[in-house]
Symmetry: C2
Subunit: 322 residues, 2 copies
Amino acid sequence: MRGVSELRGGIDLGGTKIQTAIVDATGEVLGQARRPTPTDGGPAGVAEQMAEALREAATMAGVEPSELQGVGVGSPGDADEKTGTVSSAKNLPDWEGSFPLGETLAEALGTEVRVGNDVQVATEAEFHLGAGREFQSLIGVFWGTGVGGGLVLDGKPWLGRGAAGEIGHMVVKRGGAKCPCGRKGCMEAYAGRSAMEAEARRQYEEGHKTDLFKLMEKHEKPRLTSGIWERAIDHGDALAERLIDRAIEALGTGVASAVNLIDPEAIIIGGGLGIRFGERYMEPLTKEMSKHLFVDERPPAVRVATLGDLGGAIGASLLFAR
Amino acid sequence: MRGVSELRGGIDLGGTKIQTAIVDATGEVLGQARRPTPTDGGPAGVAEQMAEALREAATMAGVEPSELQGVGVGSPGDADEKTGTVSSAKNLPDWEGSFPLGETLAEALGTEVRVGNDVQVATEAEFHLGAGREFQSLIGVFWGTGVGGGLVLDGKPWLGRGAAGEIGHMVVKRGGAKCPCGRKGCMEAYAGRSAMEAEARRQYEEGHKTDLFKLMEKHEKPRLTSGIWERAIDHGDALAERLIDRAIEALGTGVASAVNLIDPEAIIIGGGLGIRFGERYMEPLTKEMSKHLFVDERPPAVRVATLGDLGGAIGASLLFAR
């Protein structure tokens, strides 16, 4: 049946959750499901839950997984598009080595599976269906736990040798703050949620006042989520404000460097913090950026991602539309 | 005659000299000429000398300018490929506004003229005929008076919205040294020859010892040329060594940021300082770079440009081979 074969599955594999979607050729989501990423069972256990969540979304869309045109996966770590193997996905449980994720899922689901980088596919989703629709070249900046990036140049994904888009690890301050990646002065060392939490804790333990950790406990969160940061900012928490301002400075600087090099039409800001704070901090962000733009009279458009939580899964499904 | 029509002219317009070449379809240079860039007469005077120098090269190659397939120009400033207009070429005399360089030269030479960015066309020359021949994606880094850049992605020039490649104005240190462009912390603020000279003079006037300015006077140079820097380094001049090391640190950091974003196969180092110091400082440069590479086990190839002084003119002629 032709109609059915034009449906595609998408799986967004994150450190805390697995989001799946069944998407038609126009980008409409006909079914979706979400599960927590299992913390034991290793890569095989994760793959099993991914398959389950995809089946659940397929059921909602009234289709068998085997009838899909294919299932795309947006994965963290080093996702090899050619082989479907995912390596060193450090924010996934026990996933230090390589695992044939594409092959495993293809067997479980009875359909073709393609694996891509999570941030790159989310960027492509915004390009095709979201905030980037009117542009031919853009950089996606996903501001969350870390800061990831994706590139679309002249309407096509740019992957480089497979690892392009690491905008979070562009250096904004040589010899600067230590980054979770182990290097110094990366944009992510100032703007990533993990790095921000570590810095907040350091300052808190030094005696600086903040409600961040009280809010975290009150809302029973295991870490400083985007929502906790927002609450603290809404309460006028000075330490939270300082650290967000510092993050915005680093983002503006790093994005300007990227623009000076690539000169794209647009920057799309996504990710947990990006979606929550993008509009609110648009003015200081573009102001910081313009300080460092070489051609400052013609800045790129800066837009907040519009596909929200489903962007990753939709983008993954688009691995069958490239 | 078909053979003749396959010849192309190229003009490299620099702040101090005009270099022309007549190039055949294989990239061989059949004629060349060089003249100083006139310091009076404004853009029209410069265009006149460009036409003269091109005629001289054509005579050497035994061809009339009007018989050429066309003449390409690599220009500093804001060179608009679509209109052939060059604006705000601040290192050219009295060239603050816009000038229809392409149109003026086309009339003077009786052939089609295309205008491109000087660093971009030099990058393309290295891609097609020089140090970048074996690669499909590369970044050209031209380390001279300033630090310019050019991009070739998937075998094609990447111009962005016309201003891509400004690698010298990627930020390596937020809040850092003042750049000749007026901003702070750009790579060029540490690595450009102009910025290095300004810093050397500042330190010299503060009482730091250096032979740099004595050498400049002895060799009757108006500024600290690449050759003067080399002589000082050869003499073990400590201040010169410190400033070159500082430049190498900035270059390594900025290039690593660019690689993290684009993940190209190769980096081609050109420009006056790049050609003079590229091999000599290859080890510290790649070491600095690898400190900041996100995927450090697989660095891009780093090569020194091989077309030398003629690269710009050859690259300009290739505007007719794209």
